[in-house]
Amino acid sequence: MTVPTSLSVADVQVSFGGNHVLKGVNLTCEHSFTGLIGPNGAGKTTLFNVISGYVAPSSGSVHIAGRDATAASQTAVAAMGVGRTFQTPKLIGDISVLDNVLIGINGQATLFNQVREALFFSRSAGINRARARDVLAQFSLSDVADVEAASLPLGSQKIVEVCRALVADPTLLFLDEPAAGLGRDDVEHLVTPLRAWVEKHGTSVVIIEHDLELVTNLCEDVAVLHLGTIIARGTPTECMSHPQVIEAYLGVGVAKDT
Amino acid sequence: MVQQIIAGLQSGSTYAMLALAVVLILKATDVPNFATAEMGLVPVFVIWQLLDSGWNYWLAVPVGIVFGVVLGLVIERLLIRPILAESHFASVLMTIGISVVLGSAIQLRWGSDPRRIDAPFSGNFQIGGNYITYDQLMIIGLGVAFMLGLLFFFRTPWGVQMQAVAEDRVTPRLLGVRVGRVFSVSWGLAAAISTVTLLLHTQASVLTDAAAGPLILKAFVAATIGGFGSATGAFLGGLALGVFENLSGFYINTGSRAAVAMIFVVVILMAKPEGLFSQARPREV
């Protein structure tokens, strides 16, 4: 399924200290699922950080759904309908799974409104809870909704983080290694509902992954990032048979034998 | 005015050296040691006791410093290291508790009467119409010496290890750094600095059990101004605080000192929240 360009990254460069991490990255997302792969240290998470507003690029531009998000702050980018997850889940351990997911909706309200809701009550609290439970149900997490988040295994926590990002109904979703540390079953519990969600809501998803089988099954479009530049672009099969990509993953000399 | 500046440098050096001890422990063990000044005051009382029993000054002082170092090492090993993995709040409360214990122990053992420690060097000399006492010279000189010493120290293998441990407790251990040793050295060193500082300070004024209290706060203020990551910054912050205090006290009135100091701190923190000289790590990524 093809959706209109939700993300456009043009010639983005980023340096940390003397370290030139991103050297002119160009990327557009036109599909539901775009994979971003590449060896470790290629700069994939840095690219996420740039787009989500955590890091400012030294040059280049980022456009989200047509709007300029290059210099936007994290909260501004979030307000544009962007959600993300992290390599290690950033949940609050001592509250329930449901409360963690709720934060995805709560963050959208202003501080003032939150205080007002706390002191004067509001009807939206119940509605939000229902929404959160609904998302958890889609990912088969209903029976742990009221459990302390810290007591869940890592895999489930990662899925909870995805739910938290989804409950805000983002138009653009970044998943940073969602399958890392997940067993086969967990991956299915993540992928199937995710596909269904995207089908229904039209979200564009960009996935950083090392699990190439997952990428092949899920993504229609893949970009390969290596040492700060995109070295290949296309369908998963195209990318993974690209000699430069093989060289990047396996080292020089192997490519010749392929 | 120069006279005032000299006096300001004197009190400022005291703040500065104590600030060095604060920053040292903070950098190495990630603990804000509220007991820094008390840890230095106890050995000074021990020194006084020795002097009172007839010991020679130049014998009593080294013994006192050793006592201070041992005290610091014991505190670190028994009370601090076991709780390093706990919450930050626990560390804060622990060092606060230690300062109360040490302060009240001094009071119980020696009472609240002021005493004197007479240094074998007294008198003063003139430079271009302004007087400097040997005490002042001693404090200012030693302060600078300590700071340079610490700067040099951070460049040695020991110092580098210490900074590595401050950033991250796990990786240095994997690389073979004896983290426990680093902790001990830093606390011992800070205790020594603190002892010398309190000795010079009480020598120049009076020795009482309450001497430590006001100092620790000034040390914290100095560390705040200078930016916590930087020993130099804390040192210069202390000097600046002392000079500022004295000048405003002299030129405006004694009442203005606190207000001036406050405005000073607030302005600096608003302009540069990481402090003036810090290597700017306002928040970790």
């Binding site: 959600g83 889940p89 609050i92 934060i103 709560n106 | 076991p82 804060v92 302060g103 009071q107 406050m262």
Partner: protein, 330 residues
């Protein structure tokens, strides 16, 4: 899972029971106790109220803010000045001083929000010290070093001790209720995100700095309200009252309860005031005994004394650190 369900219900039941008992006692207490005991009870309530402010800023937002005693001083001095010298009715003076303290809190929070952990603690301590120095300097308002005599208020028909008690109770109920509401709703969840996973706040639309500023302001507000009452109880305020000794007592108040629980502030207040009374008998050794017990308590029960209760019951998480560690894994 069933275990955690029981956990939540037990906590809730304890809270409801405590609330009911408090309300019942509130009416009856003045007639049951002699004036000195009533004074102690009022002190406990005031300390618990102030403790709530610390729970919000330290327990929920994760900022080690040590200017609490100074804010109480602002409340005590300013309430008295507005009431006694300017002539504003006492309750309005109290609230106004609270608002002033909130502004000061936000001002302190502004640079402090950019500092992490201990640097923040030390900076707030520095600010606190400077505030108390100001108390000495603006002697037209505060009476300087020698202090200010607090004008005592009386509610209609009641003597001052009883008035203090009822005002304290009403204030405590309002503060505890407000804090409870804030803590269990969206606002509280966002505060905890700032505490445990600040790195992820921006991507969720949460402006961490704003929340920190607000938390600083609220804790200052609450501390000042408690401080105004505290001044009434003291009948005389000197700058020295609001320095480290008082601060340490508050830190112990919230430490007892594990700093994240509102009920902990109440339990801690009872503990601190009663042990203060008990230690009076020890005379000169009082300070030493207090310090030593604090050191031993932190050494062997770093999660606070109520963690001991949890350990015994086996219901609560034994390692108080386990919960946030997962979220902190970076």
């Amino acid at each position: 899972m069933a275990g955690s369900r029981i956990n939540i219900s037990a906590g809730l039941a304890v809270r409801i029971a405590f609330g009911l008992a408090s309300i019942a006692l509130a009416f009856l207490l003045p007639s049951l106790l002699n004036p000195y005991r009533l004074f102690l009870a009022t002190l406990i309530v005031v300390f618990a109220t102030a403790g709530v402010g610390l729970v919000i800023i330290m327990g929920w937002t994760g900022q080690i803010a040590l200017a609490h005693a100074a804010f109480m001083g602002i409340g005590a001095y300013m309430t008295n000045w507005l009431f006694s010298d300017v002539g504003i009715p006492w309750v309005f003076s109290l609230v106004l001083s609270g608002l002033f303290a909130a502004v000061v809190g936000a001002l302190i929070g502004y640079p402090a929000a950019r500092l992490r952990g201990f640097y923040l603690a030390i900076a707030t301590l520095a600010f606190a010290e400077l505030i108390t120095r100001m108390f000495v300097e603006i002697d037209t308002v505060t009476g300087g070093i020698s202090g200010a005599s607090i004008e005592i208020i009386q509610l209609f028909g009641l003597d001052s001790d009883q008035s203090h008690w009822y005002i304290a109770v009403i204030l405590a109920i309002a503060v505890f209720w407000g804090a409870h509401r804030l803590g269990t709703t969206a606002f509280g969840r966002c505060l905890r995100m700032v505490r445990d996973a600040e790195i992820a706040t921006g991507s969720l639309g949460i402006n961490a700095t704003n929340y920190k500023l607000f938390a600083f302001a609220i804790s200052g507000f609450i501390a000042a309200l408690a401080g105004g009452l505290f001044g009434q109880l003291l009948t005389f305020a000197t700058p020295d009252t609001f320095r480290t000794t008082l601060l340490i007592q508050f830190l112990v108040v919230v430490f007892i309860g594990g700093v994240t629980q509102l009920t902990g502030a109440a339990v801690g207040a009872v503990f601190v005031i009663t042990s203060r009374e008990l230690l009076q008998d020890v005379g000169d050794w009082q300070r030493f005994a207090f310090g030593l017990s604090l050191v031993l308590a932190v050494r062997f029960l770093p999660g606070g004394i109520t963690s001991l209760v949890g350990l015994l019951k086996g219901l609560r998480r034994t390692d108080a650190h386990e919960a946030p560690t997962v979220a902190r894994a970076q």
